[in-house]
């Protein structure tokens, strides 16, 4: 009989939750925006930066009288970096909290679980940092605030050829990581387009988790490249740089936003000097909007904003701007306004192309005397 009591108890809890959920809906005076990010789990540091940025953007708009006299309310949900959890929280935000739009989430695999839900509910969604091209292919309600993987490889190649004057290039990448592999493939395609066939003299993959790259590097250096493209994350980049310098490579190295970490210099030391990488923004960019953002974020959270905070802030700003211009809060109006966006945000001037990816500039950052130094801005 005891088990019956438990069944009944669970049933009662479920029913209570259901009724409780039905009961608490927010008043019509405020506009509810959903925010998603992984504040626990493997990508927790990314999620925290993103959440900080969402909250800061919302607070600023509210201090500035909200949108059309209505205050904004952010409902944030943790997706734990897991697609199943992502599907749950996207459903929660739409069905339970009745959000008008969703900003999120960080990881592509989780955005891919959330996007079909937003699309079928007609709720506009903008992901700050999901670089997988498939995310926005889900449907016309899905946007993103970052450039996609192919763009970084292309910009890297242009920079190496035009600015560094390289004639022969080599690439080394983690073949088990789709981000690294994608960047290198697009680098190769663009560089060969600029420098002619055969200008990429070595194109080598390594297994995930390797710490010794000397076999590949020896082969690469034998081909005497002017520049080495390394599209891995910073831990691998630092080790590759050290070993490449040990083997006598003196030329410049170029990479993607996976380099963006203070640990790159800590691990790599002098070896990563003469290194360049493409990134979404630089804290040293002199545009007032950038300096203003960096100052406010640093004052509020005690650390300079990283790329995730910047893109989170930009994604929220783009969405709020679209809601303001739409003048209404139904999904279709917001989507149409977002499609027509042409706004200067921290990471550049943003317009959306036909597949709802932003068309915007990338910055090149140089590692100089152990510091990240703003080098130049590259327009697509």
């Amino acid at each position: 009989m005891k088990a019956y009591t438990k069944f009944v108890a669970i049933g009662a809890i479920a029913l209570g939750l259901g009724i409780g959920m039905a009961a608490c809906s927010s008043g019509p005076k405020e506009i509810v925006i959903g925010g998603v990010g992984p504040v626990t789990g493997e990508a927790a540091t990314f999620g925290v930066s993103t959440k900080n940025a969402y909250e800061m953007a919302i607070a600023e708009w509210n201090a500035n009288k909200g949108i059309n006299g209505k205050q904004l309310k952010l409902v944030f949900a943790d997706d734990k970096g897991d697609p199943t959890e992502g599907a749950t929280v996207y459903t929660k935000l739409i069905q339970q909290d009745k959000v008008v739009a969703i900003v999120g989430t960080v990881m592509s695999k989780v955005s891919l679980a959330g996007a079909p839900i937003c699309q079928s509910s007609g709720i506009p969604m903008i992901s700050p940092t999901s670089t997988n091209p498939k995310v926005t292919e889900v449907g016309d309600f899905i946007f993103r605030a970052c450039f996609i993987d192919p763009f970084q490889g292309t910009v890297g190649a242009q920079f190496a050829f035009n600015d560094l004057g390289a004639k022969k290039a080599a690439a080394l990448f983690d073949s088990g990581n789709d981000y690294a592999k994608g960047l290198s493939e697009f680098f190769k395609a663009k560089f060969e387009e600029l420098g002619g066939a055969g200008s990429v003299v070595a194109f080598e993959g390594h297994a995930s988790g390797t710490t010794d790259f000397k076999a590949q590097l020896t082969k690469i250096l034998a081909a005497k490249p002017d520049v080495l493209y390394v599209s891995d994350y910073y831990q691998d980049v630092a080790l590759i740089a050290k070993q490449a310098r040990e083997l006598g490579f003196k030329g410049p190295m170029v990479g993607g936003d996976g380099w963006d970490s203070p640990d790159l210099v800590k691990i790599g030391g002098a070896a990563v000097e003469n290194g360049f990488f493409t990134n979404h923004y630089s804290a040293e960019d002199t545009r007032p909007i950038v300096q203003d953002f960096v100052k406010k974020y640093t004052a509020k959270y005690g650390a300079a904003p990283d790329a995730l905070a910047t893109l989170g802030y930009d994604a929220m700003t783009l969405m709020l701007d679209a809601i303001k211009r739409a003048g209404k809060t139904d999904g279709k109006s917001i989507r149409d306004a977002l499609k027509a966006a042409d706004l200067a945000v921290v990471s550049g001037q943003v317009k959306f192309d036909a597949s709802r990816n932003p068309v915007k500039s990338a910055v090149i950052i140089e590692i100089k005397d152990g510091k990240q130094v703003y080098k130049t801005t590259v327009n697509p």
Binding site: K80, T91, N132
Partner: protein, 334 residues
Amino acid sequence: MNFPKFLVASVAFYAIVQVLSMLGIFNGYMMIIINKSLIYVILAVSLNLINGITGQFSLGHMGFAAVGAYVSGTITTLFFKLRAPREFSLDALPAELVFFCAIVVGGLVAAFIGVLIGFPSLRLKGDYLAIVTLGFGEIIKSVINGIDYVGGPRGLLGIAPFSNFTVIFIFAFLTIVIIRNVIESSHGRAMLAIRENELAADLAGVDSTRYKVTGFAMGAFFAGIAGGLLAHLIQMAHPTQYGFLASAMVLILVYAGGMGSLTGSIIAAFLLTFLTEALRLGVDWVHEITKLPIGTEWTMVIYALLLILIMLFKPDGLMGMREAKILQLGRKHA
């Protein structure tokens, strides 16, 4: 097993949820929680057959779910691709039938792999199965990562949303009934005997390897079914969903509910899934009222704390080895 009573109770549960859903008291969020709970019921009950009833120790249950998810997901997406020009109605019988077959095929492939890895490792006594299944869970992830056809590290995307409450409920109901009946049969008695004392079971004439492999393959079959249902619920499958942590989560359900108690597994699956969401809402609510710096990241802390409390005060799990009346063994039970 008191089948008529169990049937009545299940149908009542189904009817209540359906009515509340139609009335709008249960919204889509509530339904996804219930659906997830039912999928966890399938996973926990099937793992209980391996760990609780047969007394083996499997650490890679989600690996079989991955097999089921990818096999069934590939079949249904392929089917859609082939018939892409025609507009599909989800009510159309053929599509539903293909979905049903795909889920079952996913389960069968998982069971086949279960036999393949169970046969060599279960012939031995001891913890070899734990090591082999742990390895299997990682291997299946790497294999999926390496197959570009199913998306590799990007995941299998665009799976049709076929899983709804009715489908998941039916599969969960069948899982419980089948596993309960297996336990009640002579096969089940043999499995229980192996759990209690393998040497004694051997001496009594029980072919222990055969029954261990049967139990393991059956558990793998239902894990495959659950994986397929999950993939069609969230419309995608990603290798990281089926890693060791996810397997450990199912193990937690079995232990929290009580080893060897199907009732316990069912209760734990519902209780812990609801608990996660209740904490999410609760923490938000506390934050809203008190404005304390308690963020959503605290839910996992409280969740873990509650688990520790359950294991402290109920070391055998919520149900121990007992069953609810309607799920109890028929005649005098061992």
